[in-house]
Amino acid sequence: MSVAVAAHPRTLYEKLWSAHVLRDLGDGLALIYVDRQLIHEVSSPQAFEGLRARGRRVRRPEAQLAVADHAVPTRDRDQPIADPLARDQVALLARNAEAFGIRHLGLEDARQGIVHVIGPELGFTQPGMTLVCGDSHTSTHGAFGALAFGIGSSECETVLATQTLRQRKARTLAVDISGRLPAGVGAKDVILAVIAELGASGAVGCAIEYVGEAVRALSMEGRMTLCNMSIEAGGRMGMIAPDETTFAYLKDRPLAPKGEMWDRAVAYWRTLASDADAAYDRKVFLDASELAPQVTWGASPDQGGAVTGRVPSPDHEESPVEQAKIRRALDYMGLTPGQRLQDIPIDAVFIGSCTNGRIEDLRAASAVLRGRKVADGVAAMVVPGSGPVKRQAEAEGLDRIFLDAGFEWREPGCSLCVAMNNDRLTAGQRCASTSNRNFEGRQGLGARTHLMSPMSAAASAVAGRLADVRDYL
């Protein structure tokens, strides 16, 4: 935590890591201190059960925040949850939080929402922190210059009991994004292009830092979208150095430092940016000014490209493993090589998730939808990322635009990104989705997912097929 000048130039990641190392364990492992943990209903029951079984307490209850998001219904919230398993799981989180003295936002709380949306919204997430959650999209919080990563239930229990974790130091990967984003292209298109470039395992073992003028120009919402999907390239964490945009977002948030504390915190946060001549283990470059809207065609987030393209052929791949991956994906997705992406018809549209369920995402999608209608036969829904996002959108009249266009306007949660509640597609249904994973079965058994930006999803809803949003601007 000291601001002493280091002997050698360091990256943001190296600064965050060394500020939290308690003990070097050798071979690149260390025991690190964890400043904050977010807890949800799906990955925490076994952790609390483990504590109970051994009579352990939570070391710092005040450093935790619990909220249910995965299993929660997105309508009829005044009724008990219909699915008994989901109802029990959500109730169990409330009971565990109560029993261990942890702050919990219940379903009735106006601030309830997806963990990765409410953490930043409340100012729970801050630069310089180590922050974990039993959820792989915890990398989202790296957008604030935090060292944030997903963990399993055992590690969740370890943090509850000790506020520490044994971790392996990552290699550093800089993703340098230059240029200005063209109209119709947003943070989601950038990250989908990055994932396609790196591959689904390209960043395994790496801490990604997003740098460059296009990153600096992004809002916090856009930065969160970028960091959120780092895991889809295999990177357990993604991060962006905090700057004026970060501080402006955080100032006066409920849990952000106040008064003199705020000034001290900002002074520290300003020291976190990577030193000018810091070296990364690897660097990749992307020119955002040449980017077209992106869409995935396969069943892995790296299987995508420009919406103007065609479904690829496995025969053009050299590696047999890659050929097999494409064949399996095309079979699952019901697509044929050479097919134009914009000729693919859709049955459903989902706008939401921890990737794209924030106010800016809803503004972007509604701007495309204003005065237009969802195509016949397409079921479209918006699931705001949190209560505050929903109310903000309603205050701006965005809900009217979505409803008038033929979208459903739902209550906050993970919903159709993980299909654990009762929002799910049926086999063979094809969805234009702003979520983060197009895995087999992710939106329901046999359902087919095409990942894209909120703008592209809105355009696709109107077209009834995968669409190039630039035709709708």
Binding site: M1, L22, R23, L25, G26, D27, L31, Y33, D35, V42, S43, Q46, E49, R56, R59, E62, L85, Q89, R103, L122, Q126, G128, M129, D135, S136, I151, G152, S153, S154, E155, T158, A161, T162, Q163, T164, R166, R168, A200, S201, V204, I231, G234, R236, P254, L255, P257, W262, R264, A265, Y268, S300, V321, A324, K325, R328, V418, M420, R437, G441, L445
Partner: protein, 209 residues
Amino acid sequence: MQPFTRLTAVPVALPDADIDTDIIFPARFLLITAKQGLGRYAFFERRYDAAGAERPDFVLNQPAGRTPSILVVGENFGCGSSREQAVWTLADLGVRCLIAPRFGEIFQANCFKNGLLAVTVGTEAWRRLAHDAEAGREIEVDLDRQMVHRAEGEVIVFRTPAATRDALLNGWDDIEMILRHDCDEIDRFEQRQRLAAPWLYTQTPLDGD
């Protein structure tokens, strides 16, 4: 945690790349809050058809795959979601060791926390081990010496960090180790941090607390 020392078995191969944790343990079963008895859900969509009948072409439904203890899995196995159910479900099937060119990082960490050895080997060596699986040849995995012995005498060396290895060999649980050895260090860290970054220790009430 059950110690892992040495294991001899005919491996079972699942060589596809990017087998994600949604394939290993579909999300709809995540509403179950127990961590025992999850083996029946492993690879559910690949193991069973829509009517619930076994798919005979899936390796775990074949005689050699019914009691897997060593899995030779493809590049990036366990990518995607952090759900530890993906490990618990394999453990319940009897899996103790996985060998891949590369793993999803969270999945690999979760394996170690449950006494499962998940090691990476080079692509060529991995291919030979996948052949051993198909040919029904036994291999021996020796964690103490960090070696895989193939039937015809070849030795494939792997690396695990010493602290991880010690924990697996002895069946040590992280929490127990940390509480036993590091409490003073944690106290000292918190005292230092409280002075250097006091805003991290300020109790800010939220409405409704």
